[in-house]
Structure formats: C-alpha cells, structure tokens
C-alpha cells in the first residue's frame, strides 16, 4: 500500500512514458530500435501492473506483470530480432498516408476524441475509479497501434503496430477490470501465434516464392517431410 498521491504521480509518469514510447514507435525507422522500444513499452506496462499490485493487492496483477515481462519484453523481441537476421530488410523507410509528424498530431487529436467518448462511460461506471486516464490512454494506444499498421509498409513493422495495440488493450484492462488469469494467458498465446505467423508471412513477402515454403519448414513450425 502506498500513498494515493504518490501512486497517482507514479502512474501518471508511467503514462507519459508509454505515450513517449508510442510516439517513438510511430516515428522510428530502424527495425532493431523498434523492437527495443516495444520491449521498453511492455516493461513499463509490467511496472505499472506491479505498482497497481502494490496499491490494490490483487494477485492477478502480479501474474500479469510476470507474464508480460517474460513474453513481451523477452521472448517476442528476441524472436523478432531472430527473424530480422534472416530477412534482407533492416529499416522501414516508407510511410503511407501519414508522415510521422502528422501521425503524432493525429494521435493527439485521438486522445481528445477518446477522452470525450469515455466521459459517457465514466458517468455510468467509473465514478468510483480514479483512473479514467488509464482507459483513455489504453484505447488511444490501441488506435495509435492501428495507425502504425496502416502508415508503415513492412510487415514486421505492422506486427509491432499490432503488438502496440495489444499493449493498449492490456493497459485498458489493467485500469478497467483485470481479466481472469487464464484468459490472459490464452490471449498471450494467441498473440504469440499471430506474431509468429505474421513474421513467417513477412518472409514470404520479402523473399522469392520457392524459398518461402522452404523457409516455412526451416523455421521449425512444422516437420519437414
């Protein structure tokens, strides 16, 4: 149990950090640093979960934090780095629809929109919860992830966008209602599988077709004949 004001300050600080990482993800062109930033963002989330555990004492939060650290800060970035080694792409230079600057600007607008949308919800059910901002940031983060998906050309970057979205959802759930742990685990497994598949498909896009099916095998997802 920590002091409510301190708790609030910490949480707010973490929010700022998350938004910062999100902005970085939107603008960053080097794939390696993208992965690192993502790992950092996930780490911040985990920290946030721990802080909240300290505040509320729900054991679930702790497990979530653990899971996040293992999967999102360690396993996924490692896997992505591994994938990156095998494809010729190193940097994602192309932007479609939105330039990084305008993306950031739109994100700002989005936060307002989401805030606005959320007040409707708040009137109903968030009156006893002080952390309206968590929900707002969560949904905004999800929308920003979506922006990454459509403004970046490379599949790998798109995956990062998707992962960011998922982080947004996690953030949202932290502040709204933690899901039963089993659900969280299943979601993470699902997330993993999608990332793996997307990465594999990224191979296909970035390499010739004949190689593609061989690479499918080499990756060891299924057994060679």
């Amino acid at each position: 149990m920590i002091d409510a004001i301190l708790f609030n300050d910490i949480i707010h600080g973490l929010f700022v950090l998350i938004m910062g990482t999100a902005a970085l993800i939107i603008t960053q062109r080097s794939l390696t640093s993208l992965f690192n930033i993502y790992a950092a963002q996930s780490m911040i989330l985990a920290v946030m979960a721990i802080v909240m555990y300290i505040e509320y004492g729900t054991l679930n939060l702790l497990f979530i934090a653990l899971l996040t650290i293992i999967v999102k800060t360690v396993f996924i970035p490692l896997f992505l780095h591994n994938v990156l080694k095998r494809i010729p792409v190193k940097r994602d230079l192309q932007f479609s629809f939105l330039s990084p600057a305008s993306s950031i600007l739109i994100s700002a607008v989005l936060i307002f929109i989401v805030y606005f949308f959320f007040t409707g919800l708040a009137g109903d059910m968030l009156d006893d919860r002080p952390l309206l901002l968590g929900g707002v940031i969560g949904i905004s983060l999800a929308l920003m992830g979506m922006m990454i998906i459509f403004s970046r050309k490379k599949v790998i970057t798109k995956s990062i966008g998707y992962l960011t979205m998922e982080n947004g959802v996690l953030l949202f759930s932290l502040f709204m209602a933690e899901m039963p742990f089993i659900i969280e685990v299943l979601i993470v497994i699902d997330l993993l599988m999608i990332i793996v598949l997307a990465a594999v498909l990224a191979f296909g896009i970035d390499s010739s077709l004949e190689e593609f099916h061989k690479k499918l095998n080499r990756l060891g997802i299924w057994i060679e004949d």
Binding site: F97, L110, F116, L143, M146, I149, F150, K158
Partner: protein, 645 residues
C-alpha cells in the same frame, strides 16, 4: 376434382424428371415419353379446371404447410379456373407441337433439358394462378421466371441470346421487386399472406400498392415502358417456348393484375385512367414498332405488347365504368378483357408456332428472306392466315369477338355524363381504332411477305412443309380461333353474361352461304383457267428482287409516323493518310433510334455501372488503405457512440 388436379400435377412433375432418370438411348424416346406424360397431365388439369369454371363452384382446395405461417394453399375460384383452363389448353397444343419441334436444332443434351424444363414452366404458371396466398404466388412466380429464363437461353452461344437473356433476367427481377414491395406492403397491414379483399390499408398505401402491382405485373406483361425485354426474349427463345411465353406467361401477369388490383384492393377512379393510358400507349406503340420490324418473331412479340395493351385498356375501362356504376359497360369491358386474354393466348401461340415452323424451314427469322412459302408449306400458311385474321380482329374470328366488346364499351361511354371523362374516352377510342387498323396492315405485310409471291432467298425456295406433329397443335388452336369467334355470343351468354354483343353465328352462316353461291355459280359457268406470268409492263422475266420488300410495304406508314420512328445517322470514315484525303473505308449507317433502350434503359445501366466501377475500384487497394477504412470507421463509431448512447 382434387384427385384429377393432383394427378395432373404429379404427371407434370414426372415429365420434369423423366428425361433425366430414364436413360433411354436414343434420347428421342425419352423425350417422347416425357411429352406424352406432359400431355396427359395437362389434359387432367384442363379438364378439372374447366369443370370448376363451368360449374362455378369453388371445387378444389389443397393445403400443404411448410411452417404454420407458410402454407401452400391451392384454391380454384372462377377467375383462377378460367386462367388455368386457358394455360392448360394452350400448353397442351404447344406440347403437341413440341413433339417434332424439339427434334430440330441444339444438341441432344439441350433437347433433354428443354423437355424437362417445359413441364416445370407450365406447372409453375398453373400453380401461380392456383395459389391462394401471396407466399405461394411469389414462390411459383419466381419459378416461372427462372424456368422461362432457362428455356429462353436455348441458343445461348449467340450474342443476341445473351443480350436478350440479360435483359430478360434483369427486367424479370425488376418486376419481382415491385411485387415484393406490393405484397409486403399488404402483408404489413393485414398480417397475413392470404389473398383476400382488404380494407385495412390506408388510402395512400393502397394507391402505392397499386402502383407497385401495376409496375410489377406490367413488367411481366410487357406494358410500355417496361416492355423492352419482350421482343428480345421472345425472338430468341425456341418457338414453342415463345408460344408459351407470349401466349400464356403474359396472361399470368394479367391474372395477377386482375387478382390484386381488383380483388384485393378496391380500385379507385384514377387507377382506371392509369390503366387506360398505359394500355393505349402500349397498344399503339406496340403495333407501330411491329410495323417496322422485319424479324418475324420480334414482330409477333411487339404484337403481344399491343394485345396486352388492349387487355389493359379493357381493365381500365372496367375500373372507370365500375366507378360510375354503369353495370353493362363495366361488364362488357371486363369480360372483353378476359375474353381477349383467352383469344390472344390462342391466336398468339398459334402464330408463334407457325412462325416457328417457318423459321425452322427457312433457317432465318428475317422476313425479307422469305416469300413464296404458301406453295411450299400450304397448311402452315393457312394456319398462319387464320391466326393473322384473328389477331387483325377480322370477323367472325375470335380476335374480333373480344375487341368488339371493348369497342362497344367505349361507345357506351355516352352514358357517363361526365364530359371530361367522355372526351378522354373518345381520344382513347380513336387511338384504339388506329391500333386495330395498323394491326391489320401489319399482318397483311407479314403474311404477304412471308408466304406470298416468289421466294426471296434460296433457303426460302428450298423450304419444306413441316411434319404432322407441328401442324396438329396449331391446327387445334386455329379451329379454336374460329369456334371462339363464331360462337362468341353463345359462349358469353352461356357463362351467364347478358351483354350487347352481336351474334356472329348468322353472319358467319350468311358469309359461308354467299361464298358457296358464288363459287357454285362460277363452277356452273366453267370459266376456262389459264396460268401465265405476272403482268409486268413487258419485262422479260420477273425476279424476286422486283417485289416489294417488307420495308417497302411499311414505308408509307413509317413516313407518316416519322415522329416515332426517329432515325440515327452515323458516318465513319477511315483514311490512308493523316491529312484525311484518301478514303480507305467509309461506313454510313442509318438505324432506327430505339427511344426506350437508348434513352431510358441503357443510361440507367451505364449510371449503375459507373457507380459500381467507382466502388469496386475502392476495393482494389492494399492492406494499408483497408486499415485506414477500418481505422476511420472505428474512430467514427467511437465518436457516434459517445454522442448517441
């Protein structure tokens, strides 16, 4: 009665599947058996419905429920049994004709399909009329549309057939669209699918439902401006199918119009004027277009539009007279319209079948390439002549018998005591008279150019009379034309209408008597007969090229109606050099301006295709664009949700 009707229906169903399950080689035997089964089935159904019609009792009622709400309710009242008798009889003759007809042209497999679909088509038409609720009506209506569409696509490799097919399919759906609107509107207010008189509809809704019904059935019946499919579809379909489509299917639409506009909804005065106006326009434009047409089957198809116009005029007059409470003219026009429905079914299918024989014998539908067939195909010629006389409303044949009732109704409008309505009626009468005279002119042209004088092409010269089967069906119909005409007065009073129509029997007897007297006289004189050349002012030898063409024949009328037959001139040139001085090829064309197609149908279609192309193009994008669609939608949804909920 139920048993008779049911066994007839099951025989028809059997005929549907027979060509496929009976793997008899050659397929000819299978087809024969199927057609024979069809014939016997039709005989059963026609007998049952005729008995119902004559006894005047509501004698057949069958039910089959899919769910408690969806019930197939088969019910014969006098209107439906009249129409079923009509369908059954004409189909019977058509089936008789089909025995030999389907053995020509197409592949073996296609003939089998044709044989199988024919009973389905006929059965669906019978069931549409027999259905006693809107659900059953729509159900069989759609089957009718689809089966006729499939039948029509017999020669489907031809570009012409494909165009016709698309036209037909789209227009059919268009009609059905309006039927759905009308029926669902009625359903909304009555909460039942039953066809029964209803007062539950508010006035506005009733009018709206009427418009929908009119457009829906009008499209199927080929009322101008919803007619464009009709000449296309009827001309490319096999002739037995065109006979059924023109002779019977259009009548089913008329049945629907009578049933829903008069039986379910209570007609208002202005409906009568709508019917009258559209009927008159259809009748007049139909025959005017027919005059210009040189495709034999298209010509007949345009005449179908004309005759449907006549029927609709009759219905319109009925509404008007009924509104003013004049019983005799109202009955005259209604009975006239229904009688004309029967008559048109008889003589139009007769004409289509004989035209089919001609087309088969000459291998072309262009009448400019026919001629002289009266000597090659005498029986067909006589049958066609009887049909022509009937459709041109020559007494004492049946076409006249019904048209005179409508004329009579028109003339009786002096009883109306409403100058405005009467003047409208008088104008309608003038148009009606013009239409009737033009029809006669058109059939003089058709019969003259197809059958008389010298053959205009080698194919026409080599034509042979068709086999017995293809004569028997039309012959029955021709006989019916005569009987229905000569005994029209007796028939009308026999079914219980006392109407001021002339008795054609003494007229016919006298006609026959006078002909016999003169023929006898001439026989008595033994006038010597000599065969010689046609007199041609001393030319050495007469060739077919010297004869009037069909174009030449109708030229005066076309000139007089030049406002309607607008032409379009195009001139294309290709040059050898860039300075455009040495001409390589020139093509000048004068084509008839197809007003409805070029000003209404095609522009609408093009507009639709333009929108479609625009929206389609939005789908040929990459993932990023699609994500933007989703993103924008989600943001919008969030905003809406925030405001709205």
């Amino acid at each position: 009665m139920e048993t008779l009707f049911l066994s007839g229906c099951s025989l028809l169903l059997l005929a549907c599947v027979l060509p496929f399950i009976a793997r008899i080689t050659p397929g000819k035997t299978a087809r024969r058996i199927a057609l024979f089964v069809l014939l016997s089935g039709l005989a059963c159904i026609t007998t049952a419905s005729l008995i119902c019609f004559l006894s005047g009792a509501e004698c057949i009622r069958l039910l089959y429920s899919l769910t408690p709400e969806l019930v197939f309710d088969i019910h014969f009242d006098s209107l439906s049994s009249f129409f079923i008798s009509l369908i059954g009889f004409v189909s019977f003759c058509t089936a008789l004709y089909s025995f030999n007809y389907i053995e020509h042209g197409g592949t073996e497999k296609r003939r089998l399909v044709l044989t199988a679909l024919l009973p389905l088509f006929i059965l669906s038409m019978i069931m549409v009329v027999a259905a006693d609720n809107m659900f059953g009506f729509l159900f069989f209506w759609e089957i009718m549309s689809i089966s006729s569409f499939l039948l029509m696509m017999y020669d489907r490799e031809k570009a012409e057939t494909q165009k016709a097919g698309i036209f037909y399919f789209v227009m059919t759906q268009f009609g059905t669209l309006f039927l759905f609107i009308a029926f669902l509107l009625i359903y909304r207010y009555t909460n039942t699918f039953d066809i029964k008189a209803t007062d539950a509809l508010p006035q506005v809704v009733k009018s709206f439902a009427f418009i929908a019904i009119f457009i829906g059935f009008g499209t199927k019946a080929g009322i101008i401006p919803f007619h464009k499919w009709l000449p296309y579809a009827h001309s490319v379909a096999p002739s037995n199918v065109s006979a059924l489509m023109s002779g019977v299917m259009l009548k089913v639409a008329i049945y629907g119009l009578c049933r829903f506009a008069f039986d379910v909804l209570q007609p208002e005065l202005w409906w009568g004027f709508v019917l009258l106006a559209f009927g008159t326009v259809s009748a007049l434009l139909g025959v005017i277009y027919a005059l210009k047409e040189h495709d034999l089957k298209k010509l007949l198809a345009y005449h179908s539009i004309e005759n449907i116009g006549i029927i609709v005029v009759g219905l319109g007059l009925y509404v008007i007279f009924n509104y003013y409470g004049l019983e005799i003219p109202a009955n005259l026009s209604l009975v006239g319209a229904l009688f004309h429905t029967l008559n048109h079914a008889v003589f139009k299918s007769l004409l289509f079948m004989t035209a089919g024989s001609v087309v088969q014998a000459t291998g072309t539908r262009n009448i400019e390439k026919m001629g002289g067939l009266v000597k090659k195909m005498p029986v067909t010629a006589v049958l066609f002549l009887i049909g022509s006389c009937a459709i041109s409303a020559l007494p004492p044949l049946n076409g006249f018998a019904s048209e005179i009732m409508i004329f009579q109704a028109y003339l009786e409008s002096f009883e109306l005591n409403n100058p405005v309505v009467e003047i409208v009626m008088v104008i309608g009468l003038a148009a009606f008279a013009l239409m009737s005279a033009l029809a006669a002119a058109c059939f003089v042209k058709a019969f003259g150019v197809v059958f008389l004088a010298k053959p205009r092409s080698r194919e026409a010269g080599k034509a042979r009379e068709v086999s017995f089967g293809m004569l028997a069906g039309p012959a029955i119909l021709a006989l019916t034309c005569i009987v229905l005409g000569v005994f029209s007065f007796q028939i009308i009073s026999g079914i219980g209408f006392d109407l001021p129509v002339p008795n054609m029997l003494p007229v016919s007897i006298l006609l026959l008597l006078i002909i016999l007297i003169f023929a006898g006289l001439l026989k008595l004189f033994h006038a010597p007969v000599r065969i010689s050349e046609t007199w041609g002012c001393g030319i050495a030898k007469q060739t077919p090229a010297m004869e009037y063409t069909a174009t030449g024949f109708s030229e005066p009328i076309v000139t007089i109606f030049r406002l309607i037959f607008r032409t379009k001139k195009s001139n294309e040139k290709e040059y050898f050099d860039s300075a455009e001085s040495i001409t390589k090829r020139t093509e000048a064309k004068i084509t008839t301006f197809k007003f409805f197609e070029e000003r209404i149908y095609m522009p609408l279609a093009h507009l639709f295709m333009k929108i479609a192309a625009f929206i389609s193009q939005k789908h040929n994008k990459d993932l990023e664009t699609f994500m933007v669609y989703a993103f924008v939608t989600i943001v919008l949804l969030l905003v809406t949700a925030g405001f709205w909920l």
